[in-house]
């Protein structure tokens, strides 16, 4: 059974009614329960659970330290190309936005790689827009060949691929996949993606399954918060992660809770997701999947990320730049979105040590 079928089971599920029936008593019991099921997780996402964040936070912190230690993995994104044929109404790179389109040449990839590697990071996440003409799989492979010389773990955040294409990239040296469903609600998804290949909801939803079948070591899923009701979107993200862990027990599964940021085009989030909501989501997920990774990017401001270190996060980006070629020049061009935490890798490391956490620059070895 694919995750699409799991999702479909909730077609007529009444979230409002479920939340109305969650009591404070039930939430308190769930906070100490050993193994939570999907509905327990949903109960922890309820407004009622929002009144118990402190108790949830202590348990989440204990579980995170127990399973991951007092460490934080660091990585950085590298934008390879911003050519895109999609019409996602919320994205700075969408086809209708007027910005200088660019993709890195092999020489530029090498230059950016050298700059990033000098910070000590060994994990890199490479990103492109969706354009099979401008950034085909062969282009990604060529970039990976260069990046392999500098990094020991390479993840991709690109358009969804076929299983054989994932296998091809894995053989080249890719070990991680990040792919956000953006909106799990299929109707909302259709509205936000009026044209382009990304309209295909199911092909995107099932991409992590294809990647795992191809042997991908790590998969990271998420919903873009601000596009639709965050509670149900957080629920489906967690359910998706749990489905992947059940179906592919050997995979390292993680989620990201990205919130919308200002970007070219000026689409306004349809739903406000407050800091409290974000924290509740992270804590609920930690209690639901104690060994699941939680990635927090520089979409969040520095002061908030400092607090999230102790609230379940396991991986953070550092020294980020969302502009193609932005590290070795062109830093004034338009990025995919505006980042909120501009700290360098060294500054992040200092902050982590200050909080009693070890920054980890290398946590995988290409084998």
């Amino acid at each position: 059974m694919s995750f699409y079928e799991v999702y479909k089971n909730f077609n007529s599920f009444d979230f409002e009614d479920f939340f109305k029936r969650v009591t404070g008593e039930r939430v308190k019991k769930l906070i100490t329960k050993n193994r939570l099921n999907g509905f327990d997780y949903l109960a922890l996402l309820s407004p009622a659970a929002g009144k118990h964040l402190e108790e949830m936070a202590w348990r989440a912190r204990r579980l995170t330290v127990q399973h991951f230690g007092r460490v934080m993995m660091l990585y950085t994104p590298l934008y390879l190309s911003n050519f895109c044929v999609n019409h996602c109404v919320y994205c700075g790179f969408q086809v209708k936005n007027r910005l200088e389109r660019k993709k890195l040449t092999p020489l530029e990839v090498e230059r950016e790689a050298r700059i990033i590697a000098s910070t000590g990071l060994k994990h890199i996440l490479i990103l492109t827009g969706e354009s099979r003409r401008e950034s085909p799989v062969s282009y990604i492979r060529a970039c990976v060949e260069i990046l392999k010389k500098y990094f020991t773990s390479i993840s991709i955040e690109i358009y969804p691929l076929e299983e054989e294409e994932y296998a091809e990239l894995i053989a080249t040296g890719v070990d991680g996949l990040t792919i956000y469903q953006e909106a799990y609600d299929e109707n909302i998804y259709a509205r936000l993606h009026p044209a382009g290949p990304k309209r295909n909801y199911r092909f995107r939803l099932e991409a992590p399954e294809r990647a795992c079948r191809a042997g991908m070591r790590a998969v990271n899923v998420g919903a873009l918060l601000g596009l639709h009701d965050w509670r149900s979107e957080a629920f489906f993200t967690g359910l998706h992660a749990n489905y992947l862990q059940d179906t592919f027990p050997e995979a390292e599964v993680s989620i990201s809770p990205p919130r919308m940021r200002p970007h070219l085009g000026g689409f306004q989030p349809e739903v406000e997701v407050g800091d409290k909501n974000l924290v509740q989501y992270m804590l609920a997920f930690r209690l639901y999947m104690p060994r699941g990774g939680i990635t927090v990017s520089t979409r969040e401001p520095a002061w908030l990320r400092d607090h999230l270190v102790k609230l379940g996060a396991t991986r953070m980006s550092a020294g980020s730049c969302t502009v193609v070629g932005g590290r070795s020049g062109n830093e004034h061009d338009d990025g995919q979105f505006e980042i909120s935490d501009e700290r360098s890798v060294a500054e992040m490391a200092r902050m982590l040590y200050g909080q009693g956490y070890q920054p980890v620059y290398k946590d995988w070895q290409m084998i």
Binding site: R70, V71, T152, E250, Q358, D363
Partner: protein
């Protein structure tokens, strides 16, 4: 008392082994080693980075310790073998702790794949210490495959739950002609002492030390507990009996 643990040609006087993955700073590693007298330290090859000396975890392990790289992240025997070879090539020595984990929810080891990897690596001259679920049949296969010791888990990794697999570990201690080292799950010094009293050859601890409020003090406590447990084992504890010694014996009427 000359109580030496021999593994892979090394003579060890200290029976506490240390894991290194969860410290808030690598700087704790040498301090922990100093206070506890630990001689064997395991490091995940995935974390070793010779190119970044200041943050390279392996560089924090004192030179006089046996560095035992582990294959954390291996999903099958083949990957474990590749990681072990990379570790040796990177100058991490001859010892390897095999970890093959096909289940990321509990991090329980896959004994079948572990046996396969052990056979290959022992054949290549590695000193192989496999992490395993305490199962007698698998342990016998590991012996036949050339393991230098077996490392059954006391409870799932990181759980701090103690010696939950006690009865199964006891069987391995009784039946397996190799050192049995309890790895994973030990949460408190008293549990380490318990394992040693039973006759475990050593215990390996990471989470309980690294995530303690004061890791150095906790390492000291573990070291004492391991020594105490070992001394008690060697002193041959009196038998525990389920019945009281009756003052009027039931068979006292029998004459020679």
């Amino acid at each position: 008392m000359n109580d030496v643990l021999k593994i892979g040609g090394q003579e060890l006087n200290n029976r506490l082994f240390l894991g290194t993955g969860k410290f808030s700073s690598n700087k704790y590693i040498p301090e922990v080693v100093r206070i506890s007298g630990v001689q064997v330290v395991t490091v995940a090859l995935r974390r070793v980075d010779p190119e970044y000396e200041e943050e390279n975890i392996a560089a924090f392990v004192p030179q006089d310790c046996v560095l035992m790289p582990n294959t954390s992240g291996a999903r099958n025997a083949q990957e474990a073998v590749r990681i072990a070879r990379l570790a040796r090539a990177a100058g991490c020595g001859n010892w390897v702790k095999i970890e093959v984990i096909t289940d990321n929810r509990y991090l329980l080891p896959d004994n079948d794949e572990t046996v396969k990897a052990t056979e290959i690596l022992a054949g290549e001259g590695f000193v192989v210490l496999p992490y395993m679920s305490p199962d007698l049949a698998a342990a016998k296969k590991l012996v036949a495959a050339g393991a230098a010791a077996v490392m059954p888990l006391g409870a799932p990794i990181g759980s701090n739950r103690g010696l939950k697999t006690k009865e199964l570990v006891r069987i391995l201690i009784d039946e397996i002609p190799l050192p049995v080292i309890v790895d994973a799950g030990i949460g408190r010094p008293s549990e380490a002492a318990e394992a040693m009293e039973m006759g475990a050859a050593a215990v390996l601890v990471n989470t309980a030390i690294a995530t303690a409020g004061d890791p150095v003090a906790m390492a000291g406590a573990f070291s004492l507990a391991v020594k105490a447990g070992r001394m008690a084992y060697l002193a041959e504890p009196g038998e525990t009996v389920e019945y009281a010694r009756a003052s009027s014996p039931l068979t006292g009427f029998l004459r020679d």
